[in-house]
């Protein structure tokens, strides 16, 4: 493997919230066309690391390299423009808006001329409906407000949204934590489909079976640092557990 394989390199990322040092110089890498898992105990800093990559948090120090070039991911918009989509742990849905409005939030389709542009509502409803149908079991009508959806339905909306933009990197922060069997199965299918399309997926999960099942590569975080990496083919659930707890050194 050469560094050319690496689509993303986050190097020595530090981030503190007031007195809490959430990241203490964490470095991870992701490879093209692979599913990279990120595991670690609660509070290890997984979500924080992922949020610096998706442009929500600005790291205190450290660099992020995308396709070999150092990039500045100051805003979620910037990350999206560079092809990084994220399913946040909190899903990032607006409850009072409808499913299709959430789907296209921030990248609405418009029609009209010049500066006089209005929303192309029909087209957006149509697209959202199709994309959601590919994923969810009980597809909610795209015109219903997210407030009325169950936890699983919301997750489905958020995942379908992130998967739908033909991006280079899709980050999923515990995407199946609240999902039932069928939905979990569908999400795993999508994740595989994304990989097969050449998308690099970063998956945070507490479910070892899932990680062993899906991922190609895994990074282990502990107390704000990425302490170890393993090829899935060369590790076992037990080894991962001992890496997480620190029972085994990296």
């Amino acid at each position: 493997m050469t560094t050319a394989d690496l689509i993303l390199q986050a190097t020595d990322i530090r981030k503190s919230f007031g007195g809490v040092h959430a990241l203490k110089g964490a470095s991870i890498t992701m490879r093209r066309g692979e599913i990279t898992a990120l595991i670690g105990d609660n509070g290890a800093g997984k979500s924080t690391l992922v949020r610096t990559i998706s442009g929500i948090h600005r790291p205190d120090s450290g660099t992020i390299t995308l396709d070999g070039e150092v990039v500045s991911l100051d805003t979620p918009k910037a990350a999206q423009k560079l092809g990084i989509e994220t399913v946040q742990q909190n899903l990032a849905l607006v409850e009072e808006l409808t499913v299709w409005q959430n789907f296209f939030l921030g990248r609405e389709k418009t029609k009209g001329v010049g500066p006089l542009r209005w929303l192309d509502r029909a087209a957006m409803k149509q697209t959202a409906s199709t994309m959601l149908g590919d994923l969810a079991v009980n597809v909610p009508p795209v015109g219903s407000r997210v407030r009325r959806l169950s936890g699983g339905q919301r997750q489905a909306v958020a995942i379908a949204r992130a998967a739908g933009w033909g991006s280079k990197i899709v980050i999923m922060d515990e995407p199946t934590a609240a999902l039932g069997v069928q939905e979990t199965e569908r999400v795993e299918q999508i994740v595989r489909k994304l990989r097969d399309q050449g998308v690099a997926v970063l998956l945070i999960s507490h479910n070892f079976d899932q990680v062993m099942r899906l991922a190609d590569h895994v990074w282990v975080m502990r107390a704000g640092n990425a302490v170890a990496e393993r090829r899935i083919a060369e590790t076992s659930g037990d080894e991962l557990v001992s890496l997480i707890t620190g029972a085994k050194a990296a």
Binding site: I56, A92, L93, E96, Q101, L105, E108, T110, R148
Partner: protein, 321 residues
């Protein structure tokens, strides 16, 4: 066998209650109109309708302005002070010999300055809306007094006179201007990206930001919109009273909020309405007009307004989520 029908009728009831709640403003307006029309023959005379509509114009514009702000979960307490600053701006420019257009522009610019301050404080300075606009309410009050040296500026402009007196049928120019503002407001809110972003930021700022929306820009924008509309309202105000006065007409502030609430908009933000607040503004105006027609003592008028606001709010509770 008794169960389902009982359940069904209970459901029907709920459906009916939520129907009333969703339509509190139009229904309330209708009830008021019927009651006042029955009690006073003049109420529905063309002259009185025209007078009511003209009287409602300023409040309609402020209601639309306030609705944009409240949809983001904010509130603009400085709205009537901003209007006063606009009025004083117009007066000063007029006094200095500027023409109508130039004076009108200056009025709107003066108001906009307050809006920009609000926006920057709230969006960039992360000051709570309530506090920031409470602060600018004081600032604008002082500014209006200082600029005008505390004295009203008499304005007799032909253009303003035309605005006051012109009409198409029972629709005076002021209410036509207000209607245009309403239609534009509706379009911007429900048919443009910006409007959707306003609702998104009000619904969940965190989620909106995570989707690449700049909450800062949206918040600044709604306060600027509010201020620009307050500036426009200032022109109607100067036209109406024939002078630019430096005192703040606080009842416009409270009534603009009441209109939005009567229109069924929740102060927590996220759910936009434009038609509702406009009807709310008409309702409040019709209420004051009807009570005056009936010769109800001044002392009872705040009680009537208070009751209407409370009843409407109680109804809103049954709105569908």
């Amino acid at each position: 066998m008794a169960r389902p029908s009982a359940v069904r009728s209970a459901l029907g009831e709920a459906r009916r209650l939520s129907f009333w709640a969703e339509n509190a403003a139009p229904i309330g307006l209708l009830v008021l109109v019927v009651v006042f029309a029955a009690l006073s023959p003049t109420f529905l005379s063309p002259g009185n309708i025209k007078a009511m509509l003209v009287a409602a114009a300023i409040l309609v514009i402020l209601g639309v302005a306030q609705s944009f702000v409240i949809t983001t979960g904010g509130i603009d307490l400085s709205i009537s002070a901003t209007m006063t600053v606009g009025a004083v701006g117009f007066g000063l420019a007029w006094q200095a010999g500027a023409g109508f257009i130039a004076s009108a522009l200056l009025a709107i610019i003066a108001s906009t300055v307050i809006g920009v301050i609000n926006g920057l404080l709230i969006a960039s300075g992360k000051v709570t809306d309530f506090i920031a606009t409470l602060g600018t309410l004081s600032l604008a009050t002082g500014a209006a007094l200082i600029l005008s040296a505390g004295k009203p500026i008499q304005v007799t402009s032909i253009e303003l006179l035309r605005i006051t007196t012109g009409s198409v049928g029972v629709f005076g120019y002021p209410i036509i201007i207000a209607a245009v503002v309403g239609v534009l407001g509706w379009f911007v809110m429900f048919r443009t990206r910006f409007g959707l972003h306003v609702q998104a930021v009000g619904g969940s700022e965190e989620s909106a930001v995570a989707n690449g929306i700049s909450a800062t820009r949206v918040r600044i924008a709604v306060y600027v919109i509010s201020a620009v509309l307050a500036g426009l309202a200032a022109l109607l105000l100067v036209a109406r009273v024939g002078a630019a006065e430096p005192t703040i007409n606080t009842s416009y502030l409270l009534n603009s909020i009441a209109a939005v609430v009567l229109g069924g908009v929740s102060l927590t933000g996220g759910r936009a309405k434009i038609v509702g607040p406009i009807l709310g503004a008409l309702l409040l105006t019709a209420l004051a007009n009807g009570l005056t027609l009936l010769g109800v003592s001044q002392f009872y008028q705040p009680v009537a307004v208070g009751l209407v606001v409370v009843l409407a709010a109680l109804l809103t509770r049954f709105q569908k989520k």
